[in-house]
Amino acid sequence: MSIKKHFDDLKEIDELSSGKQRKKSSHPTFWLVISFVFILVSVSIHLDHYSSFVIYAIIIGAFIAFSHNPLKLWIRRFASVFPFIAVFALGSFLVGDYYSAASLIAKGFISVTIIGILMSHFTIDEIGSAMETLKIPHLFVQQITLLYRYIFIFAEEFTIMSKSYQLRNPLTKGISIKDVGPFLGSFILRNLHYGDLVYQAMCCRGFEYMRMNKKTKEKIETIKNNPFEIKLTNVSVHYDHDLVALNALNVTIKEGETVALIGSNGAGKTTLLSAILGLIKHDSGEISISGLPLNKENQHIIRRFVGLIFQNPDHQLFKANVEDDIMFGPQSYQLDPEKIKRKREKLVHDFGIEKLMHRSIHTLSGGEKRLVALLGVLILSPKAILMDEPTVFLDGKGRNELKSYIKKSPLTQIICTHDLDFAYEVCERVIILDKGTIVADGTKEEILANEEVLKSFQLELPLQLRGVI
């Protein structure tokens, strides 16, 4: 079977368990245990009369009929276990033990049916929470949910790599053994960083969020009640000991400000955004949000109020469909479902993405993905939004929509961008970063209209100020 087919199956199964066709059920723990007991009992019963096979056939048929899963999915499921069972069944058949042969096949089918039904009613996340209820260690459950999420992300990457391999080696079916090392090796290298970014994005939307306690509530109140402010004092970040990413940085951003962060590649823009959320640890200095210092304990609370839009929306979106992805944050933070539902309806209406809600993430365009990523952050009612190159992947229409949104938004916004025209249109304050330090900080007129300042940092005047547009 080709890789593509495998992934298509996976997507189909996932859509069945999380998509709109899904028959929602509750009590995953109960059904997980019941399914296990059912398999246990059905495997234990000795079948030695033709009537028992008839009963098994009726049960399997009824289960399949009531599951509402397409027949081809069942065939695919049975096909994956059948060959191994068939070998053993054939052994029994050849020595004349027909009942053993038939019961092997019947039992194989019934256990596959039970698991299939379980998975068409519950998502992997729900099964995960059921496992936690059954006291299965968190590290293991976390692995199951993480792994399942990553599969979809890497599946795309893997398909692209396989396709380009096939284009260059049209005569080879599959991947030749001599290319296995570079193929799988580079796949691993490329995606380790990718996976890390996805994990950061998940943490930004409440993954691993600590449960509420009195102290947490007090801290949340601090951020809610104090005037919002992001303050960095002497903040330094080093990569690999000697490479300086941020160098003794001092900056304060007040409530409601829209700040553009500009500078050449490697100036430290993305590092600064990541450092504010604790995604990259700062080596010295202090970062505080509304007076609450950023540390390991507080970073979850800070992320609750400061959203981040990643440069590549693919790093941010990891659920099977749009609705689930938008709901990832509220579910992680266990926010009131009724309030969130109303908020979601309003946001979806405002952004006009009603039609996208049940679409699979991988079928969206770059601009649509960007919108969904923004909605996933806005639904958490943040106090500030940090955006890393928000205009990348956007066409003209998308760019204009984003522009009008930022202009209208009352939130504190920090926008990291190379698009100086965009910065000029939406931001009041502009900061230039160079080699990890702030080299200029002022109003957009002071900085972006000043050709001399811009030139000294290899930047050019916005096109509209040059009279080009």
Partner: protein, 325 residues
């Protein structure tokens, strides 16, 4: 190598589930102790990649044969044996749930067969010693080949034992071995080749990725003792169930001309003595209770036996350590 639920009996499934739970619990404790937060993410990422890599069939030039990897040795080399074992266990669970590859009842068997032997026997006893002194791509290839073949064959033997003792097929033990072992030598070699190639590439591109290269994570004697005892224990409990067959596993081993040595027959004799005296589970089911319920109860007793004996061993080790201190 994914076994379906139908291929094993309930007691074997439950016993292996117990054994896997113990091994997993131990591994999780180890990882949690050492982890500073970033390992679990790396485990998830590499797990998903191995999951994806398992879907690809690699062709072997000139033979027309193809195969895919299981990935335990690969994961152990990149994450260490404990984290590698947890990762392969989570891959197998997702496969069981999503693709119906392997079953829920057979889950313990599958994790043990595909993960345990490679991560805790082949990796620390073959791969690590071979690469300890010197490391280069050729040595990586040799060590991967050898450890993968050993890991996969141990897994295959385990599949044979579990299915045979379960008594679900009428195949003789010889046919079982002839059917499965040769295929798995080839599967192991393909696995080793791919693992060697990938690790070789990673060693050249980014050597720090290989745990083995970091000269850390050598399994302590205590870990080897704990896991070794678990293996022996599981084998013992499984052999208790073998009494149903007129030619139980130990009996046929002892009868076999090639393996008939004094040592083996005395071991077999010892086990059959234990069995005749201690076995609570004659013919799979409890006296007076028939059919599935009795079998299931037998299985639970199997698990409890494994758990209790493991706890006893753990206590003994702890006592010994205390004594040493």
């Amino acid at each position: 190598m994914h076994m379906a639920d139908a291929l094993i009996s309930a007691p074997i499934g439950l016993t292996m589930m117990g054994a896997t739970a113990l091994a997993l619990g131990y591994a999780i404790k180890k990882v949690e102790k050492e982890d500073n937060g970033s390992k679990s993410v790396k485990m998830g990422i590499l797990g998903a990649m191995v999951f994806a890599a398992q879907m690809v069939n690699f062709t072997i030039p000139g033979t027309g044969a193809s195969g895919h990897i299981i990935g335990t040795i690969l994961l152990a080399a990149l994450l260490g044996p404990f984290a590698g074992f947890i990762t392969i266990a989570s891959i197998i669970l997702v496969q069981a749930l999503v693709f119906a590859d392997g079953g829920l009842l057979a889950y313990g068997c599958n994790v043990f067969n595909m993960g345990f032997y490679s991560a805790f026997i082949a990796y620390p006893l073959i791969m690590q010693p071979l690469l300890k002194k010197e490391i280069n791509t050729k040595r990586i290839m040799g060590a991967s080949l050898l450890s993968c073949i050993v890991g996969v064959i141990l897994g295959a033997i385990s599949v044979i034992a579990e299915t045979y003792i379960s008594g679900v097929s009428s195949l003789s033990l010889t046919s079982f071995i002839l059917l499965l072992v040769p295929i798995h030598i080839v599967i192991g070699a393909v696995e080793g080749l791919i693992t060697g190639l990938v690790l070789g590439y990673l060693y050249e591109a980014k050597p720090s990725l290989l745990v083995i290269n970091e000269k850390e994570e050598e399994m302590s004697k205590k870990s080897i003792m704990v896991l070794g005892s678990l293996t022996i224990l599981t084998a013992t409990v499984l052999s208790l169930f073998a009494s149903k067959n007129p030619d139980g596993l130990e009996w046929s081993l002892a009868k076999d001309e090639v393996t008939r040595t004094k040592a083996i027959s005395s071991v077999a004799h010892f086990f059959s003595q234990i069995q005749s005296h201690l076995s609570l589970l004659p013919d799979y089911s409890m006296k007076g209770i028939h059919g599935g319920v009795g079998t299931a109860i037998s299985g639970f007793i199997g698990i409890v036996t494994v758990v209790l004996l493991s706890l006893l061993i753990k206590k003994l080790i702890a006592k010994k350590e205390q004594h040493v201190n």
